[in-house]
């Protein structure tokens, strides 16, 4: 757990530094980020090698998809989606019906850059590039507003995630909506723009670049919100409150009256 946190910090720091640097130049919504310069031949070769090794079995040599996995050349597929999938460890998966969820990514930063760049370059993907997200430039109240309007219903008011349903092949199946408490601002940006998995897409016509910065800032805030009231007891609202009220509140008082009063048949 500690290692995960340290790794997260290490990966987060460059992003934050990059974000802070880009603060001075007004970012355009779809400008490729500074961390992804045109790849040199060496990086492309690395990307190709990794793609052949880890991805092509399911997504096909030309990215056209196979019976094991979807294509990478239509819809929202692009650097943003690839980066989201790889940096959150959702890809690669070992088995075709494995649940796609956040894991520790097996790649280092250079490898992710190489893969994202190679896939985009080789398959000429239609989807958006990686948005530059700078939480420091976003307005917290605007972020709260946008988060409540677009994100809170699924990812929960406090960002803890949730559960919903989907009909697949005539069968009702559960969908686990991930928590946002380990998402970095770039992941928020790539997810908002591409709608990975069950998530809908929020293009710049719905949440503009400033709005994205603001949203990411509020998501950052939710990781460590103002718990002025004390222990946040899971941030799940009245259910936890009821349980704590019964156990800690009434429970303590029942222990108290057992101390005050007599037990059955007991003499004082």
């Amino acid at each position: 757990m500690k290692a995960t946190r340290a790794a997260l910090l290490v990966t987060l720091l460059p992003a934050l530094v990059a974000g802070a640097c880009s603060y001075f130049e007004k970012p355009e919504p779809f400008r490729p980020p500074a961390t992804y310069p045109p790849l040199d031949a060496e990086a492309l070769a690395l990307g190709q090698r990794l793609y052949q090794r880890d991805c092509s079995f399911c997504h096909g040599d030309e990215g056209g998809g196979t019976s094991n996995g979807p294509d990478l050349v239509t819809g929202e597929n692009g650097p943003a989606l690839t980066d989201f999938m790889l940096s959150t460890g959702r890809m690669p998966i070992g088995q075709r019906d494995e649940r796609i969820r956040r894991r520790d990514t097996p790649y280092d930063d250079d490898e992710i850059v190489a893969l994202v760049g190679y896939i985009d370059e080789a398959f000429d993907q239609p989807g958006p590039g990686i948005p530059v997200v700078d939480p420091a430039a976003g307005s917290l109240p605007e972020g709260r507003d946008l988060y409540q309007e677009h994100c809170a219903a699924c990812h929960a008011t406090t960002g803890i995630g949730g559960a919903m349903l989907a009909q697949r092949g005539g069968e009702t199946r559960g969908i686990v909506i991930p928590s946002l408490h380990s998402s970095d601002p770039t992941e928020v940006g790539t997810a908002v723009r591409t709608g990975p998995g069950a998530m809908p897409v929020f293009g710049p016509g719905v949440i503009n670049a400033d709005g994205l910065d603001a949203t990411a800032r509020y998501v950052e805030y939710l990781k460590n919100p103002d718990d002025r009231g004390g222990a946040p007891i899971g941030r799940i609202g009245p259910v936890a409150e009821g349980a704590v009220g019964w156990v800690l509140g009434l429970g303590t008082l029942v222990l108290f009256i057992r101390w005050v009063g007599t037990k059955r048949g007991e003499r004082r």
Binding site: A152, A153, C154, L165, R168, G230
Partner: protein, 276 residues
């Protein structure tokens, strides 16, 4: 006994210290957590002190008290009944007047009920219509109109009729379906794969806030009703019994999404005289 005395004094002492602490914390600007601890100690100290006092230093004997048997006064009952009947007798002799009194009170009671009517507006046709009218633009809650190009495939946005951005009954979801999913409803009710459905759950009226873009389903967080958009927002799970009503939409000359009419059926949860 001495041990008890010491513990009682310790409890009271802790309470006194905490109370002094409370005033200091308050004067310094306050902090909910410290206040909570100090309040707990200052009140809890008294509580523990009192119970220790009762357990160890006050008489601990159990006493016994006889319980008088109720009804113990059956002997008095005839007296009460006689007193009542003696008083009632002259009233019974003027039965017509008594009835008139009762009737007047009853009428006054009925008349006094009528102000209840002032508590609310007449429902009338309110529940049958929303603020959508032919040609009214779909705008976000901040009043921004929406073009089809604002909506990527698989995107969703909540809109209101322009000028009625707080109209709860008019909240509508614009959903852009992927190219391979035929839009539900009459073909002229959608624009470039964009369809519009009422956001109010037909079960208990919560905003149906969750959209599952992969299988185009809407999900209500309150009671888990699930609606399949490609099938005309038909309910597929949960307590909802009816589809979400669809709003016919088109595009105006400026390219903004507008409604073609109001909803063709009442939106939201059911009620007694809701038409089929």
């Amino acid at each position: 006994m001495n041990g008890a005395r010491g513990r009682i004094l310790a409890a009271i002492g802790a309470s006194m210290l905490a109370s002094v602490g409370l005033t200091i914390v308050y004067a310094l600007g306050g902090d909910p957590q410290i206040e909570g601890v100090l309040l707990g100690v200052s009140l809890g100290g008294i509580a523990i002190g009192l119970v220790l006092f009762g357990h160890h230093l006050l008489p601990g004997d159990q006493f016994v008290e006889p319980r008088d048997v109720i009804p113990h006064a059956t002997a008095e009952r005839p007296g009460v009944e006689a007193a009542f009947e003696a008083g009632a007798e002259p009233i019974e002799r003027r039965r017509a007047i008594a009835i008139a009194f009762v009737a007047s009170l009853g009428l006054l009671g009925i008349a006094a009920l009528f102000p209840i009517r002032s508590l609310g507006t007449r429902p009338g046709r309110t529940l049958f219509r929303t603020q959508w009218r032919r040609g009214r633009r779909a705008v976000t809650d901040s009043g921004r109109p929406i073009q089809v190009s604002d909506l990527d495939l698989n995107s969703v946005v909540t809109v209101f009729p322009e000028g009625h951005e707080n109209a709860a009954d008019s909240q509508t979801l614009l959903i852009r379906l992927p190219d391979d999913v035929p839009p539900p409803g009459p073909s002229n009710w959608s624009v470039s794969g964009v369809v519009a459905f009422s956001k109010i759950c037909t079960h208990a009226g919560c905003p149906v806030g969750l959209y599952q873009a992969e299988t185009q389903e809407l999900f209500c967080p309150c009671h888990q009703s699930t609606f399949s958009v490609p099938e005309g927002a038909k309910p597929t799970f949960g307590p909802a019994t009816r589809p979400l009503p669809q709003l016919p939409i088109g595009v105006d000359e400026a390219g903004f999404i507008v409604s073609l009419s109001d909803y063709t059926e009442p939106v939201g949860p059911g009620f007694w005289n809701r038409p089929e």
